[in-house]
Structure formats: C-alpha cells, structure tokens
C-alpha cells in the first residue's frame, strides 16, 4: 500500500495505490471512486477492503479523494461535477503511470458511481465500469440528504438554527458538509436514466437491494447494449436509514463479487 499526493502541486489529490498481491499479476488496473460528503466517511473501510481483494486477484488498484474531499486539497464547497470528472481523469492517468499498464477499469459507489459513469474519459478506453449502489437521480439524492440532516439535527435539540441557506432558500449545509449552489445544481441535474454516453461500454450493476430505480437503470443500460451483469446482494446499503448514516459500511458479499468479476475480466 502506497499513500501519496499526486496531480497538480497547487491542488494535490490524495491517493493510495495498491500493487498486485498475487503471483499471477496481469496488466490491468482499477480506479475506485468514493462517494461524496458523509457517505465517503461510511465507505472508507469498505474501499480499503475492496482494494485489498482486488490486489489479491492480481490487479493494480488506486483509491483517491476528489479535490475538496478527504485528504485532498481544497474545501468541501470547491466540488463540482466538472472538478470531480477532471479528478477521475487525473486519477486514471496517475494509476496507469504508477502501475505501468494501459488497461483500466472504474468502480464507483453511490455518487462516486454517478461521477465514474458520466466522466468524459473515453480517451482512457475504460474496459469495465462497476456501478455499486449508484445514485441514479441527483434530485432524489439531495432530498434524502436533507431528510437525514433534518432528522439528525431534530434528534439533537441543541440546534436553534440548523439550516444555512442560499439565495434560493435552499440549505447549503447537508449532513455535516457545506454544499455550494453549483454543487447542488450539478448533483440535482444528474439522472442516469437520461444518460446516453457512459465512460465504458461494459457496465456491471451491483446493488444492495432491488429498488425500482435500479431496475429502471438496468433496463436503460440493457437498451443501450452496455449491461454486462446485474446482481442484487443483501448486505451493505441502508443509505436512507438515519440510524446507519454514521456507521461504517460493511458489504463483504458485494466486495467479493466485484473482485471476482474484475478478476475474471482481466483474463
């Protein structure tokens, strides 16, 4: 495991590169895209487990923090869809460089899946894209964050004025993180069901429950001829459960399945 800063020295990104831990090392690599805001915190441990599993199958892996998140430079309000897409591009270039391989795949969780799916990184020829519990509809996602934030501050009766709001009267702080107007607009504009261009032509959809939006996304990807696999698992998730919001994500079945799928695909 090799943690380091990379990218523009004025705006460095924090990443952790894991080299293959198998004698059958092949020339393929995987970039992991974290969720944003509080869901990033929930997922850190699960991503560490996933990189470890992927490395054991012989793959090169990297997980990294977007600009304005985790240990990367910038404030949380500095995020935007353009910035996150640019970070994925920088991450892919860095991973290829670090691993010395040209073949790359992407794995994204929650909003990280939406970022990975919509990133204009066709030049990298992403072989596989794994969407893990993806945020399908940005507006519904923000609505859920608002509901969780409201529940959290309501439970803590100390807050007199729990909402900071923008000029449109919309909350700018959601579940512990400041959101700029641009971030809110970018996220709310996202709808994967309207997306025609994806970052890869081979997409795997791994979800923790059979929700209507996942079924619709599956059918949408099938209609575009991009879906290579769809599996429903019973662990992890609880993304809309206020009790689970500050608990580490435990999703060993999905993690194993992703590692198996990408391990198989590398052949």
């Amino acid at each position: 495991m090799h943690p380091y800063y990379f990218g523009d020295s004025d705006r460095p990104l924090y990443g952790v590169y894991d080299p293959p831990r198998s004698s059958a090392t092949l020339d393929e690599s995987v970039l992991l895209c974290y969720p944003v805001a509080q869901e990033y915190m929930r997922s850190h441990w699960a991503f560490r487990q996933l990189t470890s599993q992927l490395a054991k199958t012989g793959l090169h892996c990297m997980r990294f923090d977007y600009y304005g998140s985790g240990d990367s430079a910038g404030e949380s309000v500095d995020g935007s869809m353009d910035q996150w897409h640019s970070d994925v591009d920088t991450g892919l270039t860095e991973l290829k460089d670090m691993a010395g391989v040209m073949k790359v795949s992407l794995v994204g969780l929650r909003f990280g899946a939406a970022i990975a799916a919509t990133a204009p990184v066709q030049a990298h020829k992403v072989r596989n894209l794994v969407l893990w519990d993806p945020v399908v509809n940005g507006a519904a996602y923000i609505e859920n964050l608002r509901r969780l934030h409201h529940k959290m501050v309501k439970d803590h009766k100390h807050y007199k004025n729990p909402w900071s709001k923008n000029s449109n009267g919309e909350p700018t702080e959601l579940f512990g993180f400041r959101f700029s107007e641009r971030m809110l607009e970018d996220i709310q504009a996202l709808n994967l069901l309207n997306q025609k261009e994806f970052s890869s032509a081979a997409i795997f959809l791994f979800v923790s429950e059979e929700r209507q939006e996942y079924v619709e996304l599956k059918e949408h990807l099938q209609s575009l001829g991009l879906l290579r696999g769809y599996q429903v698992f019973t662990d992890g998730g609880d993304w809309e459960d206020p009790v689970a919001v500050d608990k580490a994500l435990i999703a060993s079945n999905i993690i194993r399945a992703i590692a198996n799928e990408l391990g198989r695909n590398k052949q």
């Binding site: 240990d71 100390h158 512990g176």
Partner: protein, 290 residues
C-alpha cells in the same frame, strides 16, 4: 501551509499526514500537535474535522500530524498478538518520534475526540514530551451540582417525575440483564481502540496531579450533546477539589454543538478556540516582555 504523506513506525506501516507552516508562518519552538483517531473514523476525522483542524493550525504556525494507528484507516493491522491499548500508545509515541525526526519538534500537544481524548490522556500520563492536551468530549465525573442542574428542573415537573419513576421501575426489572450487558461492554471497550470506558476517579485524580506537576496544560471542550455528562464549567474543579490545577486547566462548553461537530460553523468555532488556547499556552510564553 503545506502537507506531506508520511509512513512511519515499525516497518513504516503507519500512515499519516504532516501539515506544516510555511517559513513565514512558523512559530519558534511551537509544539507539534498530534490529532488522534476517534472511534471508527480514520485520520480525516468526522465531517473532515481533523483535516480542517490540521490545516488551520498549521497556517497559524503549528506542525500537525494526523494519522491512523495500526489497523485503522490507511494503516494496516499489526500481525503480532499485542494488547490494543499498549499498541495504540506505542503508535502515538512513534508519531512523536516521526515529527521530531522530520521537523525537530520536541514537545507535543495530543488532541482527540472521544476515543482520541481517552488516548490523549493515556499518552500524556506516560510520555513527558506531551506538554498539552486537547480533550474533545473527554473524561467527566458528576458532582452534586451536576445532578442538581440535570435533574432539578425535572423534579419540579410532575409528568417528568412520573416518567422517571416508571423508568427506574423498568430499570430495576431489567437490572440483571443490564449488568451482563455492561460486563460485556467493559470487556470489549477496555482496549481504548474503538471505544473507551471512564477510568476510576481516583486514578484520574492521581493522573491530573502528575500532569499539573509536570506543567501540562489541559483544555477540555464539551459539546451540548455531552450535557448528560458535563453541564457546567466548574464541574471538573468541583469533581477534583484536592487537585490544584494551577491555572493549567481550561474548560469550554459549546452547548449548541453536536458530539462530532456536525455543523461546519461549530467546527470553525472549535478550531478557533483550540488556536486561541495554543497561542495562550505556548506562544505568549515565548514572547519577550516589553
């Protein structure tokens, strides 16, 4: 302010990030600040609290190391069979060694939230290099005033009195089961890794005596969410009447704040408080008198 990823400790397995002041921001003989992990949160901290704190402290002249002890966050687990509490303290000592090797820092402030506060206390007691501690939601012992403030208003409300009587009744019925549960919790939590238990008051009293004698400055910050443990400023001094803190104890209560500082404005306020306290304890003493 600039940052660098470092790996240190046995086999260079521990991962941390040093935030250091630019040349023009440096304070002479500033203590290094160690930000310790809290619960299951890795070195980024809840709601990015540790990142924000480290960067602002560094911009004010203090070198800061935020890091993961073995088995947490980005630091791999050890393969030996040592006791978690001992290994955690050993890792914190390694963090001090690292900051000394890289930045020449010889004195330290240990800062932590919840589990981190527990570990800050433990390491301060055993390592003379620690000259200050910032305890966020740290140890608190009840006094009669605490109980009066907590239960007094309720005692005047008949509905709440009835509710309390019913609750006590239920607790009595389930006492045996609760006892078993507590025993299990203590066994699991005594390691100080993800969880912590309040040490016996007498042990803490002796620790405070030793720390004050050594000249260690202590900052306790309690949030409103901790009002069920600490609810007035003088509670610490009242709980330890035999300890002369010699002006080295400071207590702040952020009554509107969440335990893990959920609101960004609360985090901003907290970091300003910590900077103010650091300057008061470690900068003013360096300044020549007019």
């Amino acid at each position: 302010m600039k940052e660098k990823v470092v790996t240190f400790g046995e086999g260079k397995q521990l991962v941390g990030i040093i935030s250091e002041p630019e040349q023009h921001e440096k304070i002479e003989n500033a203590p290094g600040v160690l930000i310790l992990h809290s619960g299951m949160h890795h070195h980024v901290g809840p709601f990015r609290l540790h990142v924000v704190t480290a960067r602002r402290l560094a911009a004010c002249g203090y070198p800061v190391l935020r890091f993961d002890v073995a088995g947490m966050g980005d630091s791999p687990a050890r393969r030996d069979t040592g006791y978690d509490a001992d290994r955690t303290i050993a890792d914190i000592k390694s963090a001090m060694d690292e900051l000394t090797d890289r930045k020449g820092t010889k004195r330290f402030v240990a800062m932590g939230l919840c589990t981190g506060a527990n570990n800050a206390h433990k390491v301060a007691v055993v390592d003379d290099r620690v000259e200050g501690c910032v305890f966020l939601g740290g140890y608190a012992y009840p006094t009669w005033q605490f109980y009066a403030r907590r239960y007094g208003p309720k005692a005047l409300n008949p509905k709440r009195v009835m509710s309390l009587v019913l609750r006590l009744g239920r607790n009595l019925i389930s006492k045996s089961e609760t006892g078993k549960k507590e025993a299990r919790t203590s066994a699991r939590t005594s390691d100080g890794f993800h969880w912590w238990v309040l040490p016996p008051k007498e042990k803490t009293r002796k620790d405070f005596m030793a720390l004050v004698a050594r000249g260690v400055n202590l900052l306790f910050v309690f949030s409103g969410a901790e009002s069920n443990r600490y609810n007035y400023t003088k509670q610490m001094e009242h709980a330890f009447p035999s300890v002369d803190f010699k002006g080295r104890l400071k207590i702040l209560i952020n009554k509107d704040a969440h335990h893990a500082y959920l609101m960004a404005s609360d985090r901003d306020k907290l970091v300003s408080q910590v900077i103010g306290w650091l300057n008061e304890c470690f900068v003013k003493q360096n300044m020549p008198e007019n």
